[in-house]
Point group: C2
Chain length 131, copies 2
Amino acid sequence: MAVRENYSRKRNAIYQAICSTKSHPNAEWVYEQLKPQFRDLSLGTVYRNLKKFCEDGKAISVGVINGQEHFDADTTPHSHFVCDRCQSISDIYKPFFSEELLKSLNEEYGVSVTSNEVLFHGVCKECLERE
Amino acid sequence: MAVRENYSRKRNAIYQAICSTKSHPNAEWVYEQLKPQFRDLSLGTVYRNLKKFCEDGKAISVGVINGQEHFDADTTPHSHFVCDRCQSISDIYKPFFSEELLKSLNEEYGVSVTSNEVLFHGVCKECLERE
DNA sequence: CTCCGTGCAAATACTTTGCAAAGCG
DNA sequence: CGCTTTGCAAAGTATTTGCACGGAG
């Protein structure tokens, strides 16, 4: 059987939705976004597909922020900044963990690190300027 | 009024419980731990107090891991390692973010970082040895 | 026909909350 | 007495799941 990527229209739309934004959305956002176009879209489908993308390595989980899991279609190594005022999530592309650093982590602690999740909390530029 | 720390017995016991371990427990664990001693302890009380400790800076949230929030009475800057096999959480005391680094972050992105949450995922020493 | 994906609603899991009663100084 | 803390149960929120239907090859 040939490789069938983005098999269904809805799955494809969900993937496009998370690719189209840098806002690191949660399931609810994706649902609201696509609902006008797919009037019979179900929230369960959004959850199922977001989970699948993560399993397939096509997306990553930014983590659970204020009780909701947020996703990112950008799977390249980077970190995130969460504004505790406006709840926005933005990317931090500064590289914190070099290969050597992770390697030394493995050696020092006897572990095998496969991924990491870095969240900075604070106040974002926009909120700082407003205050 | 004088400062009243550890006002109630149960609050105190909950605090002692999270201080007594390096396992980064969730509310359920604390509850199970104290239930034999305080037979009328309520899970709601555990949740309320853990939340309060975080607000008061007496504990920190390790983050939500597999749907449950985990806590740590060690509030000194450090990171955490989550084993994806046995779900254990351990401390990583390697300092990743120097004062200068955080400062440059603030300048480059125009933000004001107040805290950070670093989770490494992988396989822990014990699980590696078992496999 | 056979899979796979989906809607829908119910179920689940974790956490929060309202309120009356109990605790403490 | 006045304020804080708690038990209990109900409510709240986010996410997952079972099942029957529908579409694609």
